[in-house]
C-alpha cells in the first residue's frame, strides 16, 4: 500500500524528551527493533513470535531481520491461530519465558480476548499470586488507504476496562523503545498498541537499553489555559493544535499519558488544577472508550477545579469506512482539537 501518499515521513515534534548520552535520530520502527534486539541479547528468556515477524516486511520494520541474528527458535513465524497462540504464549510465560507476541493489527486481538482477558489478566490474582504471566502483546493500529472496518480498529477502550492487564500507547521514538523494554521486564501481561502514523516519525533515541516507567505520563508542552490529554498519535495532533491555539493566545498544556492502565492520575489532576479546562484526545471510539474513563475520573476527583465541561475528541461511534472521503470525515485531528479547545475557552468567561 502506498502509505507514503497519505502521511509523509517526518521528524516527530520536538517533545523535549529526557535523553540518554548516546542519542541518535532513528526511525520509530528502528527504535522498537533495537529494544527487541537488546532484550533478546540481554535475556535468554525473551522470544518474539507472530505472523510475519521473520518476513521481508518485518512487522513494519519493528522485527526486521531479528531472526537472522537471534535464530528462528527465538524469533519465529506462527500459524494463523491467534487465540491458541496467545494461550501458548501465556503457557510459555508461566513456564518462565518472556514471550513478545506481535500482531499486525489490534483487530486480530479480538480473536484472543478469551486468552487475554479470561486467562492472562486473571492468572496471578486467581491463584493468589502463585503464578504470573510476563507476556507482551503488541499490535499496530491501521489507518488510511481504505483499511476499513476490520483493519483499523483502535481497541484501547476495550483493554482499558480489563483489570490485570497493563496497557501502553507510546507516541515518540524514545518511548517506543523505553516502554518496550519496560514491558518486557514487567512481570505482568502488557499490551502495547502502536499507531501506524507514528511509524512515519524519526526521533532522538539513546543507543543503550533503558526503561520508561510504566504508569507515568509526561508533559509534552507546558501551558496554563487548557490541558490537552492525548494518547498515541493524537499527541502529535495535539502538538499541532497547540501551535494554532498559540496564535489565538491560548496556551495549551499537553499531557501524553503513555500508559493507559494504570494511568497517571497525579499528572492529569495537577494539570487540571492548573488550567481548569480539559480536553481528551484519543484515536479510538468515543463511547465507553479512553476519553470516557479519563473524563469520568477527572469529574469524580477534580470536580472543584473544573471551569468548563470536559471535552472529548475521538472517532465517531461507527465502524471505520473505507472510502477516503469518508475516512476524512471519520478521523479527528488537530483541527477538531482546536475547535473544541476554543469552545472550552469560551466557557465561564
Amino acid at each position: 500500500m502506498p502509505w507514503s501518499k497519505i502521511k509523509p515521513e517526518i521528524e516527530e515534534p520536538d517533545f523535549q524528551s529526557v535523553l540518554g548520552n548516546t542519542c541518535r535520530k532513528v526511525a520509530y520502527a528502528e527504535a522498537i527493533r533495537e529494544a527487541l534486539d537488546q532484550a533478546l541479547e540481554l535475556d535468554e528468556r525473551v522470544f518474539v513470535m507472530g505472523q510475519g515477524v521473520d518476513d521481508p516486511s518485518g512487522m513494519f520494520g519493528a522485527t526486521l531481520n531479528l531472526h537472522k541474528k537471534h535464530g528462528r527458535t527465538r524469533v519465529f513465524d506462527t500459524p494463523l491461530a491467534e487465540n491458541g497462540l496467545t494461550g501458548i504464549a501465556i503457557g510459555a510465560a508461566i513456564g518462565g519465558m518472556r514471550p513478545v507476541y506481535f500482531h499486525n493489527r489490534p483487530d486480530f486481538l479480538l480473536l484472543t480476548m478469551d486468552q487475554l482477558v479470561n486467562h492472562a489478566s486473571k492468572w496471578h490474582y486467581m491463584f493468589g499470586g502463585a503464578v504470573h504471566v510476563p507476556l507482551v502483546v503488541w499490535a499496530c493500529i491501521g489507518r488510511g488507504w481504505g483499511s476499513a472496518a476490520q483493519h483499523s480498529q483502535a481497541l484501547q477502550g476495550l483493554f482499558m476496562h480489563i483489570p490485570g492487564l497493563k496497557l501502553i500507547m507510546p507516541s515518540t521514538c524514545y518511548d517506543a523503545k523505553g516502554l518496550m523494554l519496560a514491558s518486557i521486564a514487567d512481570e505482568n501481561p502488557v499490551i502495547i498498541l502502536e499507531h501506524r502514523y507514528n511509524f512515519k516519525h524519526t526521533g532522538l533515541v539513546p543507543e543503550e537499553p533503558y526503561r520508561v516507567p510504566i504508569g507515568k505520563g509526561v508533559i509534552r508542552k507546558t501551558g496554563t489555559d487548557i490541558t490537552i490529554i492525548a494518547v498515541s498519535y493524537m499527541v502529535t495532533e495535539a502538538y499541532h493544535a497547540a501551535e494554532t491555539l498559540k496564535s489565538d493566545g491560548i496556551d495549551a498544556e499537553i499531557v501524553d499519558l503513555r500508559t493507559l492502565r494504570p494511568f497517571d492520575e497525579e499528572i492529569i489532576l495537577s494539570s487540571l488544577a492548573k488550567t481548569g479546562r480539559v480536553l481528551i484526545a484519543d484515536t479510538g471510539w468515543k463511547a465507553g472508550g479512553v476519553t470516557a474513563e479519563i473524563a469520568a475520573f477527572l469529574c469524580e476527583n477534580g470536580f472543584s477545579s473544573l471551569k468548563a465541561p470536559i471535552s472529548r475528541v475521538a472517532c465517531p461511534d461507527i465502524p471505520t469506512p473505507s472510502g477516503f472521503t469518508l475516512e476524512e470525515a471519520f478521523y479527528p485531528g488537530a483541527k477538531d482539537i482546536v475547535i473544541a479547545s476554543r469552545k472550552l475557552m469560551g466557557w465561564g468567561r
Partner: protein, 325 residues
C-alpha cells in the same frame, strides 16, 4: 465426466476465468495511479477455482468470501461496475464505498459479504447453510478460504457443526501455499487433517486447483450432494498466487519465495493452459477467443469509466448505515 462437459460449458468456464484475469490485470495496471485507495489482493493464478466452483451455482446459492475476493465475486455473478466503483471508493460501489476491495457484496446474486479477518467468513458461510436447511430451500452455501485460514480454530468448529447437522455447505480450501510471506511449512506439518474425515460424514476431495475441469468436476459432485441433503463437502484446491500478497505486481524482489517456484507456476497458468487445451481440442476457435477478449475489454472499459465518473460518498453521510431500520 470431463468428456461430458459440453463445448459450450467449456467456453463458458474459459470466459469466466479470462474475465477475472483481465479485470485484475486492468486493476493492476492502474493501481500505481493511487486512484484506487484501497488495499488489493490479486486472485491471479487462482481463477480456475472460483470459475470451476461457481459454474454450478445459481443466484440463489450463497458464497462467503475473503480478502482475496475479486474472483469469487465475479464468478458468482457480482456486478463488475460496482466492483470497480468500490475500488474507486465510490458511492456506486457494491458496498457504497464503505467496504473497499476486501469487503465486496452483491446479495442479488447470493454474495453475502466477504471478511478480511482471515477465517472469519468460514462460520458465516456455514451459518448460511444452516438457514438453507432450516428453510428447506435446496440451496448450497460455498465457503472460500486459504491455507492461512485453515489454521484458525473456527474452521474446526464450523466443520464439526456442518458434519453434525449435515449441512449443505461446501468448503473450498484454496491452498496457495502462502499466507502473506509465510510458507505453509512454517505453519503446518503434512496434509490438513480434514482429509481424513469419515466419507460418510463429509465428502472430501483434493484437486489440482489450476485445472478448471478438475475443480468443476469435484464441485459438481459436492453441489449435487448438498442439494440432495447429503451433507457437507471439503475440497482442497492446490494452487499458487502469481502476484504478491497485496498490491500490484510481482514480489520476486522480496525473496521469500524462489523465483523458480514462481516461474514453475507461471508455466502452469490456469487460464493459458485451458485456452491452449480448448484451441487444441477444437472446443474453441481463435475467433471465439478474440471475440471474448473484445467483449471483456469493452465491459471492463465501461466499468472503469462508470467507476471513475461516479460520485464519491459525502463526508456528512459517514454515520449512515450503522443500523438497519
Amino acid at each position: 465426466m470431463k468428456d461430458s462437459v459440453s463445448p459450450d460449458k467449456l467456453r463458458q468456464l474459459y470466459y469466466e476465468m479470462l474475465r477475472i484475469r483481465r479485470v485484475q490485470l486492468k486493476i493492476e495496471s492502474l493501481y500505481h495511479l493511487d486512484d484506487m485507495k484501497t488495499p488489493i489482493h490479486m486472485y491471479i493464478g487462482q481463477e480456475a477455482i472460483a470459475a470451476g466452483v461457481c459454474a454450478h451455482l445459481g443466484k440463489e446459492d450463497y458464497i462467503s468470501s475473503n480478502h482475496r475476493g475479486h474472483g469469487h465475486y465475479l464468478a458468482k455473478g457480482g456486478s463488475l461496475k460496482r466492483l470497480v466503483a468500490e475500488l474507486y471508493c465510490r458511492e456506486t460501489g457494491c458496498s457504497k464505498g464503505r467496504g473497499g476491495s476486501m469487503h465486496l457484496v452483491d446479495t442479488s446474486v447470493g454474495h453475502m459479504g466477504s471478511s478480511s479477518i482471515v477465517g472469519g467468513g468460514i462460520p458465516i458461510g456455514t451459518g448460511l447453510s444452516l438457514s438453507i436447511q432450516m428453510k428447506g430451500q435446496g440451496r448450497v452455501s460455498v465457503v472460500f478460504f486459504g491455507d492461512g485460514a485453515a489454521e484458525e480454530g473456527v474452521l474446526y468448529e464450523s466443520v464439526n457443526f456442518a458434519i453434525l447437522k449435515q449441512l449443505p455447505v461446501i468448503y473450498i480450501y484454496e491452498n496457495n501455499q502462502y499466507a502473506v510471506c509465510s510458507q505453509i511449512s512454517a505453519r503446518q506439518r503434512g496434509e490438513i487433517i480434514f482429509h481424513q474425515t469419515n466419507p460418510a460424514d463429509m465428502f472430501v476431495k483434493v484437486v489440482d486447483g489450476n485445472s478448471v475441469l478438475d475443480v468443476y468436476q469435484a464441485a459438481g459432485m459436492a453441489v449435487e450432494r448438498a442439494r440432495a441433503g447429503d451433507g457437507p463437502s471439503f475440497i482442497e484446491c492446490k494452487t499458487y498466487r502469481l502476484r504478491g500478497h497485496a498490491g500490484a505486481g510481482s514480489d520476486v524482489h522480496l525473496g521469500y519465495r524462489p523465483s523458480e517456484e514462481i516461474s514453475l507456476w507461471e508455466a502452469r497458468c490456469p487460464v493459458a493452459d485451458f485456452r491452449k487445451r480448448l484451441l487444441q481440442n477444437g472446443d474453441m476457435t481463435a475467433g471465439d477467443d478474440e471475440f471474448m477478449e473484445k467483449e471483456i475489454a469493452d465491459e471492463i472499459d465501461e466499468a472503469f469509466l462508470f467507476a471513475q465518473t461516479s460520485p464519491l460518498p459525502k463526508g456528512e453521510e459517514v454515520e449512515k448505515y450503522l443500523f438497519r431500520g
